[in-house]
């Protein structure tokens, strides 16, 4: 650093002025560059306008009305007793709207949608760059980033990590409860109070069992990879008296025994063989955990079915047709020619995530009736009750259970064992919120109720709506959101209520639906029907909930009516 500036020396700005003045470019070229640059800038929004108008749609970029404070917000700021809080609330809403607007424009862009597969070919296909959430391994294997991060990251029970995570979160996201042990002990105590045994079953991620498919330095690996805190986690679980079925050594052994992979190459999840080994190990642990009374054999049969598909990680890369599909044999479980069904009177309840849903939930593309619940049921020789939901294994199924209990439906009645299956990556990144399981009273819904088979068309205002993930940012191609509707007006019938909680598709086949773009305050038209009609198909789909603890409204299923 020099502290003297000779008077004759030019300042940086004077040098810059002189430098810019000395630019050498011909007038024709300068004009050509200007015109070309402006054409690129302006051409894209004009094209979007044209493309949307051609199909009779209003382009997303005109949806700017929500980006300013509403009259009601201004009135609240001026008249309320706490104008600062009202200002913060309005500001927070506008920030959410800005983010949604920006995402919406990009997601709505035909140019972007056309470019993604084109650009993914050189970046992901040829240069193996992957994307934000999926990494390429060897021989066409694809890995989910969060699985890798869990193994390479710091110990999830490291006090510094726990403290950092507890302070994390984001502009619109609450910080998580980071300690999985707290949540497990909390659940264990609540279940023990009702005489129910908890069995925890963490499923290792693909790189734990097949690390050599990501890095050749693991060709001679002798044991599954684990996060540095995993050993301590197992020890402390056992010290707390919680039964744990550690599936990592089971799957490692199975892989060596079979001499072939127990995970899918293009998917985050295990293969049918891996699942079978997991189901048998969990069944053995359940038998150890509780002396279950004998039940008559179910008479179930195995039906092998060949399924060919590109896995979730492959689809995340959006390489469209450039990832080779895999074929697996799914062992579907049937009873007298009918697919296996979960039984709410069973004494074993499985809470599971996508590792339980795969081969069971048709929407995942890997067949039906051959998932973890089905295979566990077969291994135990007894019916099994299942509450499954893709993603967020750290809390999603406990929340489902808590919601049912809060509505007065005792899903835990008659249960002896609860198996809680989740992906081990959740230990590092999940929200292990403490959820109280309190049996509420059966109360009539305070909102709109529809009987089975009843269909109505309504117009309503969105009071709140949960956020939809950006397509490609989650390892699932379908997603549901929940919304609270107010000021319902029946289009063709008289309504019993004026408010409703609805569940809607926000993403199908990695593309946003109209509901993903809905905003608070927007007036929308929908077809409504009872959620119970579709619960069996939709309960397992990952969703973002309203999480406001309001169970007074029974949910309905909604199909938006697109109005242009």
């Amino acid at each position: 650093m020099s502290d003297t500036r000779p008077p004759e020396k030019l300042t940086r700005e004077q040098q810059a002025m002189r430098e810019i003045g000395a630019t050498m470019v011909s007038s024709r070229l300068a004009v050509a560059m200007t015109v070309l640059f402006c054409t690129v800038m302006v051409g894209v929004p004009l094209w979007e306008e044209f493309a949307a108008r051609r199909v009779g749609r209003t382009p997303q970029h005109w949806s700017v009305s929500n980006l300013v404070p509403t009259g009601a917000e201004i009135r609240t700021i001026v008249t309320s007793g706490s104008p600062w809080q009202a200002t913060l609330d309005a500001n927070s809403r506008i920030m959410r709207e800005i983010k949604a607007y920006e995402d919406g424009i990009k997601e709505d862009s035909t140019l972007v949608q056309a470019l993604i597969p084109i650009m993914q070919v050189p970046i992901s296909g040829w240069l193996r760059g992957g994307n934000e959430d999926a990494y390429f391994g060897h021989d066409g294997w694809i890995f989910y980033r969060r699985d890798i991060d869990h193994l390479t990251g710091r110990g999830f029970l490291d006090p510094v990590v726990l403290s950092e995570r507890a302070r994390s979160g984001g502009q619109f996201v609450h910080p998580p409860q980071p300690d999985p042990l707290l949540a497990m002990v909390h659940l264990h105590r609540q279940l023990a109070a009702r005489g129910i045994t908890l069995v925890v079953a963490p499923v290792p991620g693909k790189p734990s069992i097949h690390p050599e498919m990501f890095s050749s330095r693991y060709v001679d690996a002798q044991r599954p990879l684990a996060n540095p805190s995993y050993g301590e986690f197992l020890t402390r679980l056992r010290e707390a008296g919680i039964q744990c079925c550690d599936l990592a050594p089971v799957l490692w052994q199975e892989r060596r025994r079979l001499g072939r992979p127990v995970y899918l190459a293009t998917d985050t999840h295990w293969s049918p063989e891996g699942l079978e080994a997991g189901a048998l190990a969990i069944a053995a642990q359940v038998r150890l955990a509780a002396a279950l009374p004998p039940r008559p054999a179910g008479g179930w049969s195995n039906v092998p079915t060949l399924v060919t598909n590109v896995g979730d990680s492959g689809q995340q890369l959006r390489l469209q047709g450039r990832i080779a599909p895999e074929t697996v044999t799914v062992q579907s479980v049937e009873l007298a020619g009918r697919p296996w069904r979960s039984d709410s009177t069973a004494d074993v309840l499985l809470l599971g995530d996508s590792f339980a849903n795969i081969y069971s939930l048709a929407g995942m593309g890997w067949g039906e009736a051959g998932g973890l619940a089905e295979r566990l049921s077969l291994a135990l020789g007894r019916p099994v009750d299942a509450m499954l939901r893709n993603d967020a294994g750290s809390h999603a199924t406990r929340q489902m259970l808590a919601a049912e209990l809060a509505r007065g439906r005792d899903r835990l009645a008659g249960k002896r064992v609860v198996v809680w299956e989740f992906a081990t990556r959740e230990l590092s990144s999940g929200d292990w919120k403490l959820i109280d399981l309190v049996l509420g009273e059966t109360r009539p819904s305070t909102g709109l109720v529809l009987a089975a088979g009843e269909r109505i068309m309504v117009e309503a205002t969105i009071a709140t709506i949960s956020a939809a993930p950006r397509p490609g940012s989650v390892p699932y191609k379908d997603h549901l959101v929940e919304a609270r509707l107010v000021d319902l007006i029946g289009v063709d019938q008289r309504l019993a209520g004026t408010a409703a909680t609805v569940v809607l598709w926000s993403m199908r086949d990695n593309a946003w639906t109209a509901a993903a773009r809905w905003r608070v305050g927007e007036r929308v038209r929908l077809h409504l029907r009872s959620y119970d009609e579709v619960a069996r198909q939709l309960d397992a789909i990952n969703r973002s909930g309203l999480d406001d603890g309001n169970f007074d409204l029974d949910p309905l299923f909604a199909d938006p009516i697109t109005v242009e």
Partner: protein, 513 residues
């Protein structure tokens, strides 16, 4: 809003340029102010109020210093205050080493050509800007540090476990420094105060350099309010700057950043991976930050404004002293003019020079953020500046072959970057251990190799190295543009836009400073 985003390039920029060119000069400044506030408020509308308040304080401070609150004064041009040549320093008493007594003593001591009111106006500007910066930047750090000390002393009852976490307003370090520089320049008689509020707000908020610089001193841009103009040549050069900047960000900084993130977020890394990670970070931060500066300069040129060079091929430096003549020039110049020289520079003896150097670098580190890591980063640089000064031109270090000196400088810079990038002090030290082969071992550490050795990342890093050490920097490359170069520039622009569209949100590193 981020330059490398769909909304900026395809909507904000064309609409802003269109409106800008449709308006006369006086309208242009108002429009530029309006779109700059929109640009800033896009991240958080409430932060706009903060910037406005900060700007108004400095605007008033400028008027107060030049006596503009008198109606009669408005009939004459704003005077340029005489230069402050000789300023008596406060008496050398022990309590004058404390901030408040020093400030009081400074206010009371006589400064030829400056009244107490003028000093008070300057002080108000400095105090308000530094208070803003201090509160938003150091509140969380202060609470965390206090709690850490209290916990380690076993006085848990004195912990302050507040739920309040302050969100750092984007670019606050940049615009407060820029805003302060106005009051300082007016006080020193290096620039005239500005009467037109719109012009002043425009100077502080100008969107091309608002969020991540370059920090523009008022005296350097004041004349451009009357003289700025665009020609096809400057617009074309602006296009070139912007396109190359976008390419540096999207095609080089982002892939290097992915490698760096993987290594730095890991629990432990091996020797080779650690070096790959830190070199990737060195590349990332250079391409990310210099890309922003290039785009800012390019956008400025498209609207007729000229901003000075902010980077001058820093990794070709043969010493840390030279590095600081090439890295983040607007900040190092600001610190030199407003801190190092007022502290006495090298005029007060050898030992005082070292103290001044160390102090400036420590404060430079703290400017970046509230963490011990930034302070250590500043200390490493300050320490090396001192060592190089002590060794002088005759040292063995200065006599090494040029490429070895470049290599040694780069290695020192890389070690310092570890503290800049790692999440805390413990992680920094663990990472440095890995860089000398003594890092802790972890099951999954070799998984990182699987990612870092993918062709996409290796090729990106190789190209980055070639651009750093073998290609001309943007100012030189764009000085003479022919059809061939123009074709390259547009290919880079189109490729960058195409890759940008496939990526998620990719903010600039310096947004958080």
């Amino acid at each position: 809003m981020v330059f490398s985003s769909h909304i900026f390039f395809f909507y904000f920029l064309p609409l802003s340029l269109l409106a800008y060119y449709l308006l006369p000069r006086s309208g242009k400044h108002i429009l530029l102010t309006f779109v700059s506030y929109l640009f800033y408020g896009w991240a958080n509308p409430l932060f706009v109020v903060l910037m406005l308040v900060s700007s108004l304080i400095d605007y008033i401070a400028g008027l107060a210093q030049t006596g503009q609150f008198n109606r009669a004064a408005w009939s004459k041009p704003v005077p340029l205050l005489p230069p402050v040549n000789a300023s008596r320093r406060p008496a050398r008493r022990w309590y004058n080493w404390l901030l408040i007594p020093y400030v009081v003593a400074w206010l009371r001591c006589e400064t030829p050509g400056r009244t107490r009111q003028q000093k008070l106006a300057l002080l108000t500007s400095l105090a308000s800007n530094l208070a803003l910066l201090g509160f938003f930047k150091y509140f969380n750090f202060g609470i965390d540090s206090w709690n850490a000390i209290i916990t380690s002393a076993g006085w848990d009852a004195a912990r302050w476990d507040t739920l309040l976490r302050i969100t750092l307003p984007l670019g606050i370090s940049f615009y407060t420094f820029q805003s302060m520089s106005y009051a300082i320049d007016v006080y020193r008689g290096e620039a005239r105060a500005i009467r037109h509020l719109g012009d002043f707000l425009c100077y502080v908020a100008m969107f091309p350099q608002l969020v991540a610089g370059p920090i523009v001193r008022f005296q350097d841009i004041a004349d451009q309010f009357a003289t700025h103009r665009t020609t096809p040549a400057t617009f074309a050069r602006g296009v070139a700057f912007f396109s190359l900047g976008l390419g540096k960000k999207i095609l080089l900084a982002n892939p290097c950043g992915k490698v760096a993130d993987t290594m730095f977020d890991a629990g432990s890394v091996g020797f080779v991976d650690a070096w790959q990670g830190v070199v990737a970070y060195a590349f990332q931060i250079y391409f990310d930050f210099s890309a922003y500066s290039d785009m800012a300069i390019g956008l400025g040129l498209m609207m007729g404004w000229v901003f000075a060079k902010n980077f001058d091929s820093p990794y070709t430096s043969k010493s840390i002293t030279e590095f600081w003549r090439r890295w983040h020039l607007s900040l190092s110049t600001w610190l030199r003019d407003n801190l190092y020289i007022p502290l006495g520079g090298n005029k007060l003896g050898e030992s005082r020079t070292y103290i001044n150097l160390a102090l400036v670098m420590l404060l430079g580190g703290m400017w970046h953020g509230a963490s011990w890591n930034f302070i250590i980063w500043g200390a490493i640089h300050g320490g090396w500046l001192g060592i190089e000064r002590a060794l002088g031109k005759d040292s063995f270090y200065a006599k090494l072959p040029a490429f070895l000196r470049v290599l040694i400088t780069f290695v020192i810079v890389c070690f310092a970057w570890v503290f800049f990038r790692a999440r805390d002090l413990t992680s920094s030290l663990a990472y440095c251990q890995s860089m000398i082969g003594l890092g802790p071992q972890q099951d999954g550490m070799d998984l990182m190799t699987g990612l870092a050795t993918q062709p996409y990342f290796l090729i990106s890093m190789a190209i980055a190295a070639v651009v750093i050490w073998a290609c001309p920097q943007t100012w030189d490359f764009t000085r003479r543009i022919g059809w061939g170069k123009a074709l390259w520039i547009f290919l880079i622009l189109l490729l960058s836009l195409a890759v940008m569209e496939t990526q998620a949100f990719n903010p600039f590193i310096y947004f958080i400073f």
